[in-house]
Symmetry: C2
Subunit: 554 residues, 2 copies
């Protein structure tokens, strides 16, 4: 007589991002993915959003393993907070080689050097309490992406992770369809499948098709070229480097995560770079315009990214000018359209040529389209389906695909974060909801690793909150009224004589610096204020209260 | 010896929205359009954005006329503020019949009943100081849309307004190409042309093509149908009514601006409605599902719109349910993608079928595509071109089109708000910049006309500002810390004993109401708090200070 398998999604359902799913059998737990998402514009003063993982905290001693499918932030980004919270109970973290290398680099920044990380080859079997865990090689927009098969005596669950069926990947073999088919022959119990592109008909283009189009676009550019893409898209970066080499251009890497990921990629052999092609950002001006390609972060219009800074004439090394060509080798993640649009428009204002995937096929999604989702369903022939990684729309569309390939609608579960799917020998059904939701993280500029002090508002709210309201002139950015400072629950603030007055002065200083640098966008101003004040308050109090800057233009 | 013509755009360049252009000759002024735009998500507590029209305030006595090209908010929405500011110096406002009817209705709400408005037929000549003004019939997504020809002894300027060359409009004749060609033969001095779709190749589809596709989509729906579009898109509303009549469904209008615009459209003969087809929103539940079509505001995901309220289960009359079909007969304006996406996802969560222009051709843009912009350039053969109505990208693309049809790049001016183009017999060039920018408007729910108290932060800042910081639990929306209230520059607040404490109570009341109604989205919470507090403060102080609500979830 077997027990009940509980599948509890803590993130990634009804939203794009912060993927995290808890698998539980006979009281023991395996967690697949610990992702984060980025805040929307109205989440003022928030840097990151994590899944509410209170459930894991309460069950810390029952967790056998954490398995990460691949190295993207929406799958691994919450790991430092999870491990810190679990403390001595934290289990081993498993994943592919690059995944584990990227996780280790991230944990180092958070000074979590004691975490146990283990890289696993596809096909290896890991015993984790009542679970046997196996990684299966998949293709996606980052190397070493894997699906995860979790086997208990009740049967096997397949968590696809993010995937596409790329028949001609740039690096490594195609997805291991033979192993997937085997799972299908052996009566797969449940498929937890990626729904990201459930709204796109057909088959996704291969990553390999992007390279020649990039080279074409580059060949037509007469001046400097700036290419932006996801820093973790190692394949794309390789293809840009190849095109640069073919055209005799030097390559410069701009943006901290770009440099970091390329380093990791090189050390694991995923990136090959011709001798002498790399130059420093400060050297870009020393080369003729037609001899340089800059690869930059900022493809999503992120406020502090290198490209956004360049577009606002606020980047130390690279000053953009008329005649430069900026190539977006990425599409906006839903929700980022406005930030990307704003960046593009600033670039036009400078006089740059801007090339996006609308103008040329210079991007390929890492997520399979409709026909690939159907192929997956037909390969693994699951008894039950739980579409994951998608807002309600995409989950619904994925459910319709399962219906289309002949899976009975009663066996397809349209879930929600916090709603456990419970499976036993009699069938599958949703159980009672568990706590789930968002945790907001507020932090200073992660550009300086010494300053990494990202904070969790809920769990660490003991440090309190500062709210600073600055009123500036819409015409010239000068302060037009005294700064308001409110604080609540900040320890030691009473002992800190004159702190409020000092904060006011710090605000004035920060605004003056911003005005001098030509920073006028409210969101950039707020970000600058936030970073300056957070650093200042930490310096004075050795505490990290949340700092919420409100800039009012009049 | 003739003088200099100055063309000063105060809005609509480097942005989408708040179109306003000042034409000046021999010290006399004609203003074309007085538009507004809607705020972005980070403009917390802001309802509307107006162009900074300080320039007009300083030159009030020199203004001969205001001409409005058509009745959309981005062309007429700032009129109440402009007229109030100009006071006794306000000139006559001219426009087409529907345009003037809509302007009058808007001014009535603002209690500006003394404004002089005059409707003008295309071809009529208006003398306005040194200018002769003529309206030219165009086609766009609202009836009575016109281009404006402004003639001085230096020559004629054509301001296109928003337009497309619809060869088969739903209502009225096609654009008056013969008059445009005549202007071209007579040496047109300057074209100020709409750039909105300068990035879309080809010709825009005709509005008439939309009707049959809507009817097809409606015919496939088995339950209730909710259609959303711009309330001002009278032609689209007519086509929905026609399809409803053909399918034997009743029609209900939901959303205040929808009801208002349909009333105005009917009174001017632009909308014809079969006897007995209209039912009240409260009656919708009395009819079988397959007998009803609801036409609703909210196609842009606006926070307080009827559709957004329905999607959040917060609408008085209409409760959406599984089986309802929601049809978006509109595309998101750039910047609104996230709000629209969020609304769509809530609808999927309820279990509605959602049809957008991605699924079926149920929308046609009101703005001409690339080939239409080229047709305009070839018809009117301008000496100089100033692309307007567009962000820097679209202005640049429009300039490239002028180049493509053979206009010398030196004669095409890529302008900015506040940068005057000065033309005399020797040529054209940019002059010294004038003050321009944004004015933020903060106001209570305009749903109740008695409460129309939209306010201008800059000019009317004498009433001061309240900042209210509420801290609520992310789990259940309950307050978890005392509300902070800051105020600055609010007159009489010292005499209002205990006001701050009362505001705290009002915040608690407002949050409790919101929690009861299931409102959990931060932006909706902030909006609800704002409206309740603004009404409360007005009630106590008879003042309208700005109310800035900050909701912090922990």
């Amino acid at each position: 007589m077997s027990s009940t398998l509980r599948v509890l999604p803590l993130g990634g359902l009804g939203e794009i991002g912060k993927n995290m799913t808890v698998f539980e059998y006979e009281g023991r737990i395996v967690v697949v993915d610990t992702g984060l998402r980025f805040p929307t514009a109205e989440m003022l003063g928030i840097d990151l959003v994590l899944p509410d993982f209170s459930y894991l905290r309460d069950r810390a001693q029952d967790i056998e393993a954490i398995v990460i499918t691949h190295g993207h932030e929406d799958h691994v980004g919450a790991l430092p907070w999870v491990l810190r919270e679990l403390g001595a109970d934290a289990p081993v973290v498993y994943g592919g080689r690059l995944t584990i290398a990227m996780a280790r680099s991230k944990l180092d920044e958070h000074k979590l050097r004691d975490a146990e990380l283990e890289d696993v080859d596809p096909g290896e079997e890991i015993e984790a309490g009542p679970f046997t865990v196996e990684l299966i090689h998949m293709t996606h927009s980052i190397p070493d992406s894997c699906a995860v098969a979790l086997t208990t005596e009740l049967g096997t669950v397949l968590v696809t992770g993010d995937y596409k069926f790329d028949q001609t990947p740039v690096d490594g073999p195609p997805a291991d369809v033979s192993r997937l088919a085997e799972l299908g022959r052996d009566d797969l119990l449940l498929l937890c499948g990626d729904s990201t592109n459930a709204d796109r008909p057909g088959f996704s283009p291969s990553e390999r098709e992007v390279g020649p189009h990039l080279e074409e676009v580059f060949a037509r550019a007469e001046g400097r070229i700036i290419v932006t893409s996801f820093a973790s898209n190692i394949h794309r970066v390789q293809q840009v480097i190849d095109a640069a080499a073919a055209l005799g251009r030097k390559v410069s890497l701009v943006g901290r995560s770009m440099r970091k990921n390329v380093n990791i990629g090189r050390s694991l052999g995923h990136i090959e770079m011709p001798e002498g092609i790399l130059i420093q950002p400060q050297e870009v001006e020393d080369w003729p315009d037609h001899k340089v390609i800059v690869i930059s972060t900022g493809s999503q219009g992120e406020p502090l990214s290198a490209l956004r800074r360049m577009a606002h004439n606020d980047h130390r090394a690279i000053k953009l000018r008329s005649g430069d060509t900026v190539v977006f080798s990425a599409t906006p993640i839903p929700g980022n359209e406005r930030a990307v649009g704003e960046t593009v428009d600033r670039l036009y204002h400078i006089g740059c040529n801007v090339i996006t995937p609308r103008e040329a096929p210079i991007h390929a999604s890492g997520h399979g389209y409709v026909e690939e989702l159907k192929l997956m369903l037909n390969l693994v022939k699951p008894r039950y389906v739980l579409p994951v990684h998608g807002d309600y729309k995409r989950i619904q569309l994925h459910a319709q695909l399962a219906d289309a390939v002949g899976i009975h609608p009663d066996d397809v579960f349209r879930g929600e974060n916090g709603l456990p799917l419970e499976i036993d020998e009699r069938g599958a059904r949703f159980g009672e909801p568990e706590q789930s939701g968002m945790i907001f993280v507020d932090g200073v500029d992660i550009g300086d690793p010494a300053d990494v002090a990202l904070r969790d508002r809920r769990m660490l709210s003991a440090d309190g909150i500062f709210i600073v309201v600055a009123t500036v002139s819409e015409q010239d950015g000068d302060p037009v009224a005294p700064t308001e400072v409110i604080f609540r629950g900040v320890p030691f603030v009473e002992q800190a004589d004159g702190l409020v007055e000092e904060i006011r002065l710090e605000v004035d200083r920060s605004l003056a610096n911003a005005a001098r640098d030509g920073i006028r966008q409210i969101d950039l101003l707020q970000q600058a204020l936030h970073d300056d004040l957070a650093a200042f308050v930490y310096d004075r109090l050795r505490r990290r209260p949340m700092v919420l800057p409100v800039v009012v233009e009049v």
